[in-house]
Symmetry: C2
Subunit: 473 residues, 2 copies
């Protein structure tokens, strides 16, 4: 995976001397190293998780998070702080129970997938039909599924990059839809997660159709999807063990979740105004919302905190950023990417000033690699970043990088992006579960992440050229 790109690193070392003064690189180096023991990101994460906690889009916690974010930006001394409205359909979680009725009764822990409709109040009961993968369900003869509750037992694999998530989460996205299409009555999936706790992982599914062009949202009706929930890895193992006895397995579950009209939340934005090019923006941030089960410490209080802290530490240092650093805390990423799409829509005519962007949305564990998606001409800047990241044990992995989900609508509009890749080995133990809490954030680790963001932001704000607006990739 690690491609050092030696050829242009050499060019980069030469060019970088013209791009940045020695004094400036010295200032960045000092701040990077200072950040390694600075607690600002840790403290902001603690503040959001303690003073707000769970903040599902549309919930009372969402409203409190918006107030918290405005106050925190002001407290940190950002030059401008404002909010921009984000309207979305509001989804509410209800009562959640599940059990194996026979042949052996067991209580099962279940959580509704985001967007799931409710079961009947007294619960939904039926025989389990077991598929190992979502593909097996997709290809199954409808006669196998009709009248039954489907169960997908495929287990997500652990990887540093988190790539197991993309391979596994098709079950979460599509189980309810495929089951409905084949006449099934309910869908249960093994949680998309790598832990062995009894807390199931929630997460969005394809129960909301949205058209990216027209931004029209359509909720699927009953019959187009079935009520869908995730059960934990241990419960999925138990259900497999019960199924292995070869007798019909009767399962019952209750989900009280429902859609409840529209809600308007806010993207919260804080800026540190550039000294020479105040209209040119370095876009960084995280998403302010979280799932409702935990306090959203790693997803994504940490991302908000890392980017707020990086900007704050630059502001308080001897560095005077030439470009404006805009920190965007996006609304309702989890249940449909609404904040990111609203931001892109509101700012689509200002993309020439959106110089480069990146989101932190992968927890609080150390950055081990970074990637760019910039023009060839600006690669020497990336090379200089690489040089300054190396002491943090971060390697450059190429110019076809990804960034966070909230960056994707801006990427589609042509914005250059950067990705700072954090160690995801443990991320999916916690992701979208009640266990996503502050105790999982290690101060030394989140400080290393902040230090890497400082390198990126400081150089991007200082660089005289562009990173390749309208890359057409």
């Amino acid at each position: 995976m690690l491609k050092p790109l030696l050829c242009f690193l050499f060019i980069g070392n030469l060019s970088a001397q013209e791009l940045f003064s020695e004094d400036f690189i010295g200032q960045v180096t000092v701040l990077r190293d200072k950040a390694l023991t600075d607690t600002t990101a840790y403290d902001i994460t603690e503040s959001l998780t303690t003073e707000v906690g769970a903040r599902l889009g549309g919930s009372e916690g969402d409203a409190r998070a918006v107030k918290w974010a405005v106050a925190k930006f002001n407290e940190l001394g950002f030059d401008k702080v404002w909010t921009e409205p984000v309207t979305f359909p509001k989804w509410v979680r209800g009562k959640e129970t599940a059990e194996i009725i026979s042949p052996f009764p067991h209580e099962i822990k279940i959580t509704a997938l985001g967007g799931s409709l409710s079961t009947p109040k007294k619960g939904l009961k039926g025989e389990i039909v077991h598929f190992e993968t979502i593909k097996d369900l997709e290809l199954a003869d409808p006669s196998l599924v009709k009248g039954k509750i489907t169960f997908i037992s495929n287990r997500m694999q652990r990887h540093k990059s988190g790539k197991g998530y993309g391979l596994a989460n098709g079950a979460r996205y599509m189980a309810a839809k495929h089951t409905a299409d084949k006449g099934g009555i309910g869908a249960i999936i093994r949680s998309i997660g790598t832990d062995s706790n009894r807390d199931p992982h929630t997460g969005g599914m394809k129960s909301v159709n949205y058209d990216q062009q027209t931004n029209i949202t359509t909720l699927l009706k009953k019959g187009e999807i079935v009520p869908a929930g995730a059960i934990s890895n241990p419960d999925a193992d138990l259900l497999v063990n019960v199924l292995n006895r070869g007798k019909p397995v009767i399962f019952k579950y209750t989900l009280g979740s429902y859609w409840d009209g529209e809600y308007t939340s806010q993207n919260v934005i804080g800026e540190i105004t550039g000294s020479e090019k105040p209209d040119e923006l370095i876009i960084i941030g995280g998403h302010l919302d979280s799932w409702d089960l935990g306090t959203g410490a790693i997803d994504d209080a940490s991302g908000c905190a890392i980017t707020m802290a990086a900007a704050k530490l630059i502001m308080d240092s001897s560095i005077t950023p030439k470009r404006t650093i805009r920190v965007v805390l996006w609304a309702n990423e989890e249940n449909g990417l609404y904040g990111a799409r609203a931001y892109a829509k509101a700012h689509k005519n200002e993309m020439h000033n959106h110089i480069i962007g990146a989101e932190a949305d992968f927890g609080a564990a150390p950055v081990y690699a970074f990637a760019s998606r910039v023009s060839q001409q600006s690669l020497p800047v990336i090379s200089k970043m690489s040089e300054l990241m190396a002491p943090l044990a971060i390697g450059y992995v190429g110019n076809k990088g990804n960034s966070g989900a909230d960056i994707s609508p801006l990427k589609k509009l042509g914005m250059a992006t950067l990705g700072l890749y954090q160690d995801g080995s443990k991320y999916f133990d916690l992701h979208h579960t009640p266990d996503d809490t502050m105790d999982k954030v290690i101060q030394e680790e989140i400080s290393q992440v902040t230090a890497s963001w400082i390198v990126f932001v400081a150089l991007a704000a200082q660089y005289a050229g562009n990173f390749g607006f309208n890359l057409n990739q």
Copy 2:
């Protein structure tokens, strides 16, 4: 900790040649090594957790577990299988909810401590008064506690031996009593556990007074204890973070637990009859009941399975045990040690035939040490056991050992005991939580434990002498 006791090991090597034939030691060695890849213990654990699962004393699962155990002993081919009644007050868990009301609202996961009385149906609301340790609460001026909900935040420490448990669980035993004594209205403790999951740890507390001599049980009345629950480590951390803001913290919780008359369960006993001394008994076993939150895989399906498997493998081998191997699956250990006390009461006049005993009740992780509590004369046998355990990476740690809780009433009556010490590093991540499930049991590990029990049981059943009835220690 590891004291090899070299002096008597030497004596042991000499004496053991007289105690056991070379053929017999060869048979034990072969069976020990065969057991390392045998899956009997794993399969029995899987069977109990899959076909029964949670089995709190007095619950419907308890009744199913008794039926399962009788059937399993018969299926395994034990010579005699019977049950002995165990009567105890039945405790039922109810609805459980908790929240921090102010200054920052948070949902908190709570579980009633075993024996807790219920709160009012609408919940119990009050200001938190925070103590770091149970000792701090015990010494506190009542004026600090009166009308408040106490919270003990002390965290259990992780050790291979599990010794952190004994140091921490005073909070669980006594918080409700001390709080009531000082006029408090409720008691919340940080779970006695080493994990970072949101699943709180339940466990018994001193809400039941029993007199070991008369075997009279008295339930404490309302006012003598307050409703008491445990919250998870992450929630305790959060509560501490909220308390650190220095504002009054209002907490509310609901526990629906109650005592519901008496219930009669059964100790389930299986025997392999000795060929030469059928009346002399080697007592081994685990407890059949579990807490209700998980499927009781490590506590204590594993212990039942290890001892059943050790006896079964000896029975099926070329070894012909001279003494009877009695496997006792004790009822309701968790909520008051009722099965063990009933067994001791029923058999108190037969202690001369209870040659030596041991319980497996510490999960499924490998044995790393063993200890005895036997007469000096029988130490050469222990020495021979030590020699045969060494290839399993098990060291002998002396003649002042402990065994399981269910052995303690027999120990008081003078029975010699043995303790096979399993690695407890991860045990208290799972203990008394919903996460105590089958996926935590590793086949290679539980097989190593079974191999060590085979060495103990085979030698104890063969040895011509006694281990020291009525040690008066």
